[in-house]
């Protein structure tokens, strides 16, 4: 019964994500005003929500990791892993969309000037190592706890790396150019809807992936019982 309830959550979130994302992108394209100095500005409504969603996934994975260490309940291991998995996927999307934006705005596919992109690269490296750690450690409570500790390190690393990247700019480029586009209310509202849509999409994907992983675990349990 609990399984079917969880899957209802996935259905609900998927529908909500579809509605919010369609509405948000429609608002972004047809209602929010054009930014005068940047024709590719509408990538903003995709790139920034995707990036913030990735942070939310990493944070959620960190929270589940903390719960695991706290309660020693093994189900949090899978939840933390799936959340970080989603975070890496959204992080990769943020890298790609940011790269497209950089290509249009600066004419290059990669720029070390864009802090958020560099931060995502660092986090991508960090969380790829998380997968390596999981895949090369025998499954069991010790792997669960080790992964949880590493996931918590990631949560601490995000602000520290952000600070580090800001500090690194000072010795690489002494002059910092900040281009601050004027954000209007229509932009903010459209952005909010896009962000909510992206977060619910991540939530839905998280629940679907979790259900799949649990089904896998149940299947192998059954196989042992029957065979």
């Amino acid at each position: 019964m609990s399984t079917s309830l969880r899957n209802n959550g996935a259905v609900l979130l998927s529908l909500l994500a579809a509605a919010l994302l369609v509405a948000g992108f429609a608002l972004a394209f047809f209602w929010a005003p054009e930014a005068q100095d940047d024709p590719a500005f509408r990538i903003f409504y995709l790139h920034v929500p995707v990036a913030l969603t990735a942070y939310a996934c990493f944070g959620w994975g960190g929270w589940k990791a903390l719960r695991l260490l706290w309660t020693r309940d093994e189900r949090y291991d899978l939840e933390s892993y799936v959340a970080i998995h989603m975070g890496v996927i959204f992080g990769l999307l943020a890298l790609v969309t940011g790269s497209v934006w950089a290509r249009y705005t600066w004419g290059v596919w990669w720029t070390w000037d864009e802090r958020q992109l560099v931060l995502f690269l660092v986090l991508f490296l960090f969380y790829s190592a998380y997968f390596m750690l999981r895949f090369s450690t025998p499954a069991g409570p010790r792997r669960a706890r080790t992964s949880a500790v590493y996931a918590l390190f990631g949560v601490a690393l995000i602000p520290v790396s952000f600070l580090a990247i800001r500090l690194a700019e000072r010795y690489i480029h002494p002059v910092v150019l900040t281009r601050d586009p004027k954000i209007e209310n229509e932009m903010l509202a459209s952005f909010g809807v896009c962000l909510a849509g992206m977060l619910t999409l991540a939530g839905a994907l998280y629940l679907v992936e979790l259900a799949g992983k649990r089904a896998d675990a149940r299947l192998s349990e059954l196989r042992e019982l029957v065979a």
């Binding site: 992108f25 940047d38 024709p39 590719a40 509408r42 990538i43 995709l46 790139h47 995707v50 996927i89 999307l93 790609v96 969309t97 497209v100 934006w101 290509r103 249009y104 999409l201 994907l205 679907v208 799949g212 089904a215 896998d216 299947l219 059954l222 196989r223 029957v226 065979a227």
Partner: protein, 50 residues
């Protein structure tokens, strides 16, 4: 379509592509689970019959 619009479209297509790729992966997983369930059902039926 201006160059700016092309890049915007490309970025949004990346998201669409990613979601569709995920659907494909889930479909693969579902078909595998279905196959395994069939096998388990056959085993269980044999067990019940014999």
């Amino acid at each position: 379509m201006t160059t700016g619009e092309k890049y915007v479209t490309a970025a949004y297509l990346v998201l669409l592509g990613a979601v569709l790729l995920y659907v494909a992966l889930i479909a693969m997983k579902l078909s595998r689970i279905e196959r395994e369930l069939d096998e388990l059902a056959r085993l269980a039926r044999e067990r019940a019959g014999g």
